[in-house]
Symmetry: C2
DNA sequence: ACCCATTATGACCGTATGGTCATATTAAAA
DNA sequence: TTTTAATATGACCATACGGTCATAATGGGT
């Protein structure tokens, strides 16, 4: 639907190189800012060639987006399954660490997501963002619901508000890890794993017990 | 330093119109994406004219940035002073509502800040972001410190981590208010004031008592 | 009425963009 | 060796960008 058949006839490693190079460009410059000229020159192919693979810039973007979303979805699903029997706050802890690992493994995907969040220009931005945030909040909602049944999560407070708080803190934690100057002095950015884990522990404790009293 | 004398000789209302129009363009498209051509055509002036006011795109951007930062700084300072005698969580509540009001009064400033946060292209981005986040986290730090003295804030937890959590939740709340599809189903975006206040109350309660037990 | 400093103008420049297409190259089939 | 279908190419197009500059319009002081 989005890529031409010529693209799929390419050797798999070339396909991947094309996708990774384009992903890097999009995640650094955003949709409008990304340059097809730069992508092809980085790939060492003629400009016409990339238009043999994809009908236009938009198709290329959407194809990459789908590829990235699928990766995220799989990762979330796996964590959810792996921690099925753990206590709720341990699951939250593990989810955060899984996010850190994901950023480490696919640095451009998370940057691209951040880019999109505050870009008006990306095609279908609204729909695409909704797709991501939806299964992110579905994930947290089910976590908290199961936590309530186990008596680990308070029942005297609105579920949606708790999901909002969780989502906000977790997302910001990952943003701070992926971007400098976003963490109010915690200096999370690319911190080594052991110290990250220490901070995760503290934050989860705060989410659980609050800052009051 | 950043604007030419010609600009300051302009009638004040024209100065303001120029700044507001440019601010709107920058906040919608980001630094690179913003078009001088569009700005002048929206203003109904010749392209050459704006180069009589500012030496180049960068100067225009930095001038607007300073103007915006000063507004934010003043607002924060005022809230801090106005709530001097209130309990800590009431101060947090009031700060959030002040943020909502600020967005209502200066919608493009907050959007511009969000844009910058995830743009690599803006000139001096790192330094500029640091300037904002610094006095934001200084503000929260002093709030919490005074709260500790009054015995309202727990002392058995790292202060920096609490500031991080506060900052994350408050910032995300304002982001969700200013941007659709960012609130995990709370639908804060441009919600009417009375309902906003209800949500603020709930969130502050959660920050205080946590989601656990 | 003249002067003159200040401000406004828009054609123009070099560069870059996304996209096109006739043609060249390749490689397998005949 | 010849034919044929698939792939690669880069000159070229219209458009837009930030920025320049010689010139025109303006308006207060004399």
């Amino acid at each position: 639907m989005e890529a031409k058949k010529t693209f799929f006839n390419l050797p798999e490693e070339k396909q991947k190189r094309v996708l990774e190079t384009a992903l890097e460009e999009f995640s650094e410059k955003g949709y409008e800012g990304a340059s097809i000229n730069l992508i092809v020159s980085k790939l060492g192919i003629a400009k016409g060639s990339i238009y043999q693979y994809f009908t236009d810039k938009k198709s290329l973007f959407l194809f990459i987006f789908d590829y990235a979303v699928e990766l995220i979805r799989k990762t979330l699903k796996q964590v959810k399954h792996e921690t099925k029997e753990e206590p709720t706050f341990e699951r939250i802890r593990r989810s955060l660490l899984a996010g850190v690992d994901f950023i480490e493994r696919h640095p451009f995907i998370y940057r691209g997501y951040l880019k999109m969040m505050f870009e008006r220009e990306a095609p279908f931005r609204q729909e695409l963002l909704q797709r991501i945030r939806l299964f992110s909040s579905e994930y947290l909602t089910s976590l908290l619901l199961e936590g309530r049944e186990k008596g680990e999560i308070r029942k005297d407070m609105n579920l949606e508000t708790m999901v909002f708080l969780l989502d906000a803190v977790m997302d910001r934690f990952l943003q701070a890890y992926a971007t400098p100057y976003l963490d109010s002095g915690l200096n999370l950015h690319r911190m080594k794993r052991s110290e990250i884990e220490r901070h995760v522990d503290e934050i989860v404790k705060l989410i659980s017990k609050g800052i009051g009293r």
